[in-house]
């Protein structure tokens, strides 16, 4: 193997560094086998600094050792993909000479320990991934999961995360255009914070993180390196325990959005200037990963003098400097002779740029300290030689039993369904998300056409007729109950959400959040979910251009629901076709594209009324799903569709009510469903492949004929009415009704009444 070919030289242990013992190795999260492999690569005992470098690079976060074989299953290519996985972000062509860089990344572990900084730095990291590609960030989205809001701790986490995301993005000035949040006890100990960013550039401005040109200088740019976040990557690859929120706080980084804003402007100016050949965020594993990854992409080596790295405090060791995850830093490979030009640009933005090393031709990652070598590792095995594991995967019999159990109310309702309708809107999962996005600047940069609160967010591309739509989706309950099917649904739903706004789904970025892969039932979830995602992405021609893996999301042995979040982007060719979710005009016809089914498994109804996550998740017919999406887009392009809304959590009755109260002015409706199905699954079951549309009464035939062209079941189910006429749904054997105001208020207050209620101090601290 190639790892045998390049031997590092002898390096004396640095004075004061700990000796390498089995315990020190274990503390670095490395198994005895992995350590043996390191010794083979090195041909000697590694120094403490070298061990730290291996530990970070071979962590799950950087090395993907438990997920790499699975990630290979995902489709990554399409004619419009300019940059696939392996770079700071994926890039696709969106027409008119523009390219879109986009990526999603998790900050789950830090957010569980320090929600405000954890979430804030998550946004900071994903912005840097985008602007290091040469793209200006144009939108962010956030995909969040928390436990139930009835404990003070969860409310503290939720409030802190939302404020952290808001404060960071607002200060940098990037609009938040959407995302999702789910509350379920499955996330009690481990909240999920996944942040996604979209950036826009002209094709010719694309730059990558590559250390080309032997002799070119490496420059540390932006904030100084401090002692925060040391070994964050390794920390993020371990399970949490009860005491972690105190003990692990020093591993959480601290964000400074003002410096980020300066770094953003300076980096884009730098890229435009032509003085640099490569640039990369010093993200997870800091200087170590950025330097080694940039070198490995070009097949070169790098040499860094740790003493030249600008630091915040005296006495930092090379170990600390290499592994610090201080925020708002970049590693730049400049053109030799252009160092002072780089410094001048950074100086304009009141930031520092210092030469800290150079590109070499020996393929080694060498670090010196005042002339003495403290670390010398062959670059290739360090970056690509991380051992990968394909583990045993077996389904948990308990979960299989839950899936197969008989569900309450599947045939006969056990409550007044009119009251249930209103009551469901008080669920934090179905209530309005305004409490969240009200804290996010959604309109800065004046491109936001559809802000948060709809099926997907949409930003127009100034100077063109185009727009870009984006959404994040994953229902962890579905994935928990049936991993493969749940992942297929995540992709299908994301695509459906985009289609509802008038966008053609184009590509995805994914965030694979799971528990410990060392447990067979968790590895089973990973394998099945990735397989399902791969199948669906191939089917819908939405390749995966990158993403993030977050494993070990467990506390005291309890894992989260498997949550392979899909961040999907799509392109609207003509802004005239952008469509919103809400009904607009009394008298308009209400249409249903797709079929109702007798499926109640995994529904919010069961969780809300029975505290139950059970049953098989809804089935997906991919061919029908594709017809649905194509028909919807074709109908929208006739210009006659006045609203379109995906039917998702809560089912058809919830989707219809959202269409009624989700716009500027609430309206009423009258709907009749003639399906021969039991009432609860028909109203509140979460059958996939359904979209609710509205159009003028005279356009009904035209719209339905579009559906027929795609062999899609479609029908008129009702009429939009004045708000004063209320909401009603007539079934074969009963009718449910609700007051518009009652629904509006329940939905409006679901989050505020929990988050803004005065809380006793003792409870807030529990």
């Amino acid at each position: 193997m190639s790892e045998q070919t390049l031997r590092p030289g002898e390096v004396e242990p640095r004075e004061g560094d700990p000796e390498i013992t089995a315990e020190v190795v274990a503390d670095h999260g490395l198994s005895p086998d992995e350590y043996e492999r390191i010794e083979r690569i090195m041909g000697r005992t590694p120094t403490f600094t070298e061990l730290g470098v291996f530990s970070a690079m071979w962590s799950e976060h950087c090395g993907y050792k438990n997920s790499k074989p699975l990630l290979r299953l995902l489709p990554t290519e399409a004619p419009w993909v300019i940059q696939g996985p392996g770079e700071n972000a994926g890039v696709i062509d969106i027409g008119d000479g523009f390219a879109l860089a986009f990526k999603i990344e998790s900050h789950n572990h830090p957010s569980a320990v320090e929600p405000y900084q954890g979430a804030a730095t998550g946004v900071g990291g994903i912005l840097r991934d985008i602007f290091t590609m040469g793209a200006r960030p144009i939108a962010v989205l956030d995909s969040l999961r928390f436990g139930d809001l009835d404990t003070g701790r969860v409310r503290y986490l939720f409030g802190g995360v939302v404020k952290g995301i808001g404060d960071y993005g607002n200060c940098v000035g990037i609009p938040n255009i959407g995302g999702e949040v789910h509350f379920d006890r499955g996330y009690e100990g481990n909240p999920l914070v996944n942040a996604m960013c979209l950036g826009l550039m002209k094709h010719e401005d694309l730059i990558t993180g590559v250390a080309e040109g032997v002799g070119n200088p490496l420059m540390a740019v932006g904030a100084r390196t401090g002692r925060d976040g040391i070994h964050g990557a390794t920390f993020a690859s371990e399970e949490l325990s009860e005491t972690d929120d105190v003990e692990s706080r020093p591993m959480v980084q601290v964000g400074d959005p003002f410096t980020e804003k300066l770094l953003l402007e300076a980096s884009l100016e730098l890229i435009q200037s032509g003085h640099i050949v490569g640039i990369q965020d010093m993200g997870a594993a800091g200087l170590t990963s950025s330097a080694t990854e940039m070198a490995s992409r070009s097949g070169n080596g790098v040499e860094i003098d740790a003493a030249l790295v600008p630091v915040r405090e005296e006495g930092m060791t090379p170990y600390e400097i290499l592994l610090s995850e201080s925020q708002e830093r970049m590693l730049v490979v400049a053109k030799v002779g252009h160092e002072s030009d780089v410094q001048a640009i950074l100086e304009k933005w009141e930031l520092e740029a210092e030469v800290i090393g150079r590109v070499t031709d020996d393929g080694l990652f060498r670090v010196t300290e005042n002339g003495t070598t403290v670390c010398e590792i062959p670059g290739m095995p360090l970056v690509d030689g991380c051992p990968t594991y394909q583990r045993e995967g077996v389904e948990s019999p308990e979960i299989a039993a839950l899936r197969d159990m008989e569900l309450p109310e599947a045939t006969e309702p056990a409550r007044d369904l009119s009251e249930a309708w209103v009551d469901l809107f008080d669920s934090p999962n179905l209530g309005s998300r305004r409490w969240i996005y009200n804290q996010y600047d959604t309109t800065v940069r004046t491109n936001t056409v559809i802000p948060p609160g709809s099926d997907a967010g949409v930003v127009r591309i100034r100077g063109t007729s185009r727009a870009v739509a984006a959404t994040t989706d994953c229902n962890g309950r579905y994935v928990y109950l049936s991993p493969k099917q749940g992942a297929v649904i995540a992709v299908a739903e994301a695509a459906r959400n985009l289609v509802c706004t008038g966008a053609l789904p184009t590509a995805i970025t994914n965030n694979l959040n799971f528990g410990s892969p060392l447990k067979p039932h968790i590895y089973y979830q990973m394998r099945e979910a990735v397989t399902g995602m791969a199948e669906a992405c191939s089917f819908f021609e939405t390749p995966v251009t990158g993403g993030n893996v977050s494993l070990f999301n467990e506390t005291d042995g309890v894992a989260i629901y498997p949550t392979p979040t899909v961040g999907m982007v799509g392109v609207v060719e003509d802004v005239e076709h952008i469509t919103r979710m809400a009904f607009t005009t009394p008298g308009d016809a209400i249409l249903l594209f797709g079929d109702n089914t007798n499926e109640l498994g995994g529904s919010e109804y069961l969780y809300h009324f029975h505290d139950l996550v059970a049953g098989p998740p809804p089935s997906v017919d991919l061919f029908m799903e594709r017809s649905l999406q194509q028909a919807t887009l074709a109908a929208i392009r006739t210009g006659k569709v006045k609203s379109a809304h995906d039917c998702a959590e809560g089912g058809l009755a919830i989707a219809l009510a959202e269409c009624a109260v989700g716009g500027e002015e609430a309206v009423g409706f009258e709907v009749e469903l003639k399906d021969s199905l039991p009432a609860v699954p028909l109203l509140f079951g979460e059958a996939q492949g359904r979209i609710v549309l509205s159009c003028a009464a005279e356009d009904v035939d035209d719209i339905l004929s579009v559906a027929r062209e795609y062999s899609l079941p479609a029908r008129r189910i009702g009429t939009v009415r004045e708000a004063s006429e209320g909401l009603s749904i007539r079934l074969r054997d009963q009718e449910i009704g609700a007051d518009v105001e009652a629904i509006r208020v329940a939905r409006r207050d679901a989050l505020p009444r929990r988050m803004d209620a005065p809380v006793a101090t003792s409870e807030a601290a529990d």
Partner: protein
Amino acid sequence: MRVAVVTFPGSNCDYDLYQAVKQVGGNPEFRWHRERGLDGIDAVMLSGGFSYGDYLRAGAIARFSPIMEDVVPFAEAGGLVVGICNGFQVLCEAGLLPGALIRNESLRFQSEDCLMRVERADTPFTSDYAEGQVIRVPLAHAEGNYRADDETLAQLEAGNRVLFRYVDAHGNASDEANPNGSTAGIAGIVNESGNVMGMMPHPERAMEALLGSTDGVPLFASLVASLSAGAAAGTGVGR
């Protein structure tokens, strides 16, 4: 008409202001905070954002920036100066407008559409509106709660210097219609000479129907028209 749009390091609405001025036929140009000199400039606009990070207090550092050493005499000589959001905060800190902007009553950042009543249509900033017109404009701030002492408030009201006030859809000011707790629902004011204006909401984000509202257009059109009229009459100020 040359309109200087000031860029502090943490400005993030400067580009939006630039576009808005351009849309109504003005000639915007960015001015970096360290650049000196406003020769030939007809109006100065301070944009939204977080001028110097605003970790201390919004606008508290910006008032000491080099360009403010030119903006203050420009304003005192009668030049038109507009501060929006963070720009309003900077103008208050710099003493060009009275009062202060403290944290929203909610103690949170708020991003939403607000309704405002145009209190006067006889200023260079509002001449394209009708007096009493209710307009819909986005706001996005954490510190937009306008406060001043009783004497200042009395002077503002007596001098008819409140330009914009938060109201409901019927044009009535009320606690419910007040998004951030501002005294008397004050959203925007002018100085005593009528040439310096500050407001918290973002008219530059209400310039296109596609993005939800065009109610900001008259503000920029008013400004550019008044500058053209001033130039034609040879009474241009701040030269």
